[in-house]
Amino acid sequence: MSSEAQEEQEWSEDDEILIVRKKRRGHKELIEGLNLTAMMDMMTIILVFLIKQYASAPDNIQVNEVMMPPKSAADATIVPTISIFISKTDIMVEQKSVLKVENWKIVGSDPTKATQPLFEALEMRRRITEKIAEKGGTPFDGSVMLVADENTPYELMASVVQVAGKAGFSSYRMIVRLKK
């Protein structure tokens, strides 16, 4: 190879290196800020997934100081239905307070009619569910979900179950915290 040809080849190699360097420099200039669009997409998908998962949980029952269900080894998953909550302060039907509780006793002037509001609320719920079933909705199976605080005395539990029975509910599902 002649010296001229060799010099030409060296020049061309140097040019290539320069071109690559220029390209690299140019590329660096192009991506000044991070492209956040892909990250945004990912975040949005995760956020939607978490919100949907949290909102669709059927066993989304608030647990707090006045309402702490007992622990149990029961493993049946919760099927949502009409609910009765017995807490330290209230007895609620479908999240609406129907009776006040003080020292685990139903507050009321006449003890014989103390559970009447509970009976009326449950009976109304049963009638509504039956009407919905007549119009082609989910059939009424007579079940009621009982969520009670772990310290609720048996007397109060039994009286609520008895009232529910009188109102036409024959199947009770006790809601418990899963024992791990």
Binding site: Y54, I78, A148, D149, E150, P153, E155, A158
Partner: protein, 156 residues
Amino acid sequence: MAGGGGGQEELNLVPYLDIMVNLIMFLITITAYIVEMRETPVLAPGGGGPCQGEGCDDKKPKLTLTIAVINQGIAVLSSDASVVPAWQQDKVGDEYPVAAMQAKLREYRNSYELQDNVMLAADKQIPYKVVMQVMDGIRGDSQGPLFAGITFGQAR
């Protein structure tokens, strides 16, 4: 010119991304604190009566057990005390003898013709958590299931 639409400026996504990250962190954190809930069925009073309908031998009715959670401990009673003897054990401190009750129920289950449903009754002031503990014991032990149905009885 201010407010002109000449340049194609991109939206500043950084604050939006900050909100998203915070929301995701919040949701993941609260998911860890959500208490897992389950349900356990209880029969209506009257559901634990004599066996009726198909599959029941009318000539030889099965015996029904009643488990009473009392202030002193746990008692197991049957509908015929001459066949199935009554059993009672006192609690030790605040601990109810659930394991001893399970052993006795297993013995009765293996020895006598009993109904699958039992009646559960408790003293007025017995807390629900104790009742649930006993209910867990009635449903099964380490050897397998004991009694499938539990009927809530009147408070004593």
